[in-house]
């Protein structure tokens, strides 16, 4: 370290104002440089003189002035503070008696709304665009997965004749427990065809919170389509 570099760091040498590595180099330089040692002594004197600078006495009335100003400032804000606290108190007095009933009402309304939405929008998946997505609604209805490859029960095919509409009730395994013909032909031949078809068709049972449940119902509608020619 040369004198120029040393002099730039001397002012901080006294109290750890230079890095440890620089300090070591500086002390090596100071051992062999009388001029820098003299400068260091100047800084020592300076620091000592600064430390002995007499403290200036604060004006005798300064503390009182500060207290007076502070109390004046406080009294200036006092009317606003009072007004604000009264407003807050009034607001509380109005709202506090209503707080419990209002909170209860809101919670009940929320609960009812949630249940209602779940039941009304039953089976509608949230963001159900994704194929194979399993909706997490409370109850999902049973549905037909595949129809057995038997011939469709014949309706008369006449215009004006009713299509076959039946309601099947399923158990938790997706098997048909019984069914009821709601409209259409209701003879023994048709019933036999329906029995065959329902026995070999696959149904997904009704799901409650994702678990299969008994009592799922499926509506099946058969319309005969005849093409001539």
């Amino acid at each position: 370290m040369n004198c120029y570099q040393a002099r730039r760091r001397l002012a901080g040498y006294l109290d750890g104002g230079v890095r440890a590595s620089e300090r070591a180099q500086l002390s090596v330089h100071l051992d062999c440089c009388g001029s820098c040692r003299k400068d260091l002594n100047d800084y020592r004197l300076l620091v000592a003189r600064l430390a002995h600078v007499e403290r200036v006495a604060a004006p005798a009335d300064l503390a009182s002035r500060i207290r007076v100003q502070a109390s004046f400032g406080r009294s200036r804000w006092l009317p606003f503070t009072r007004l604000w606290s009264r407003a807050v108190m009034g607001f509380r007095n109005i709202l506090e008696p209503l707080a419990v009933p209002a909170a209860g009402g809101i919670v009940t309304a929320l609960a009812i709304f949630t249940l209602l939405v779940q039941n009304v929008l039953v089976g509608v998946p949230v963001g159900g665009i994704v194929p194979g997505d399993l909706p997490l609604n409370l109850v999902q209805p049973a549905q037909l997965e595949s129809l057995a490859p038997f011939s469709v029960p014949e309706t008369n095919g006449q215009p004006g004749s009713e299509p076959l509409l039946l309601e099947a009730t399923l158990n938790a395994n997706g098997e048909v427990l019984f069914y009821q013909i709601l409209s259409g032909p209701n003879d023994a031949a048709v019933k036999r065809q329906i029995d065959q078809m329902l026995m070999f068709s696959h149904f997904r049972p009704q799901l409650g919170f994702g678990r299969p449940m008994d009592g799922g119902r499926v509506l099946l509608n058969f319309s005969g389509i005849h093409v001539r020619g």
């Binding site: 730039r8 760091r9 002012a11 901080g12 109290d15 750890g16 104002g17 230079v18 100071l30 051992d31 040692r37 400068d39 260091l40 002594n41 100047d42 800084y43 020592r44 004197l45 300076l46 620091v47 000592a48 003189r49 600064l50 430390a51 002995h52 600078v53 007499e54 403290r55 200036v56 006495a57 604060a58 004006p59 300064l62 503390a63 002035r65 500060i66 207290r67 100003q69 502070a70 400032g73 406080r74």
Partner: protein, 220 residues
Amino acid sequence: MSELAQSLTWRWQEDDLITELQSGSDSAFDYLVSYYHASVFNLVYGILADSADAADVTQEVFLRVFRGIHDFRRGSSLKTWLYRISVRQALNHRRWCWRHHRQQISIDAEEEATGRPFDLENHEATPFDQYAAQEMQTAVRRALASVPPLFRSAVILRDLEGLAYEEISEILDVSVGTVKSRILRGRRLLRDILGPALHAPQHETQSLVLSQAMLEGDPS
């Protein structure tokens, strides 16, 4: 310390003091003012070098403390926070004065510099020594006043108030490296300004320097 603070029978712990201040306690504020107003005044006076301005700024500092005590974060010490407000207010005031009053020349300042009465306080030292010491004080104060405010505030906090680098860095809101650099440059400027006046005889200071040198084990 004022009579009011002396009349308080118990000492405030800092946490208690802050809690009381935040709850709007008058006695806590009285204690704060009594305990810190002289230190704040000295710090501000060091930066502004004007007694009347320093008193005004000190007053403003405590009003700000009073208003802003709710925003005080417990992470730093109350003294550091108070000093930070003081330095900021003093520098703002100085900037304001420089903008608005730079054309004006104070008569009080002239009078203060030339016509201040000199009291013989120490009866052991000779009048000459005491006068020399007084002159040195004036010279150091004057030299401090001519150092740029950024360096001056760092030097005052370190060498007059005796704070650690970390505390100064928190007060000035700069890094420790910047604090060191400012102190270094401030001292260098002061040495250049004071020059040979530094070596004027002052028994007390000389003995202190010698004892400091002995403590450091320095051969010089």
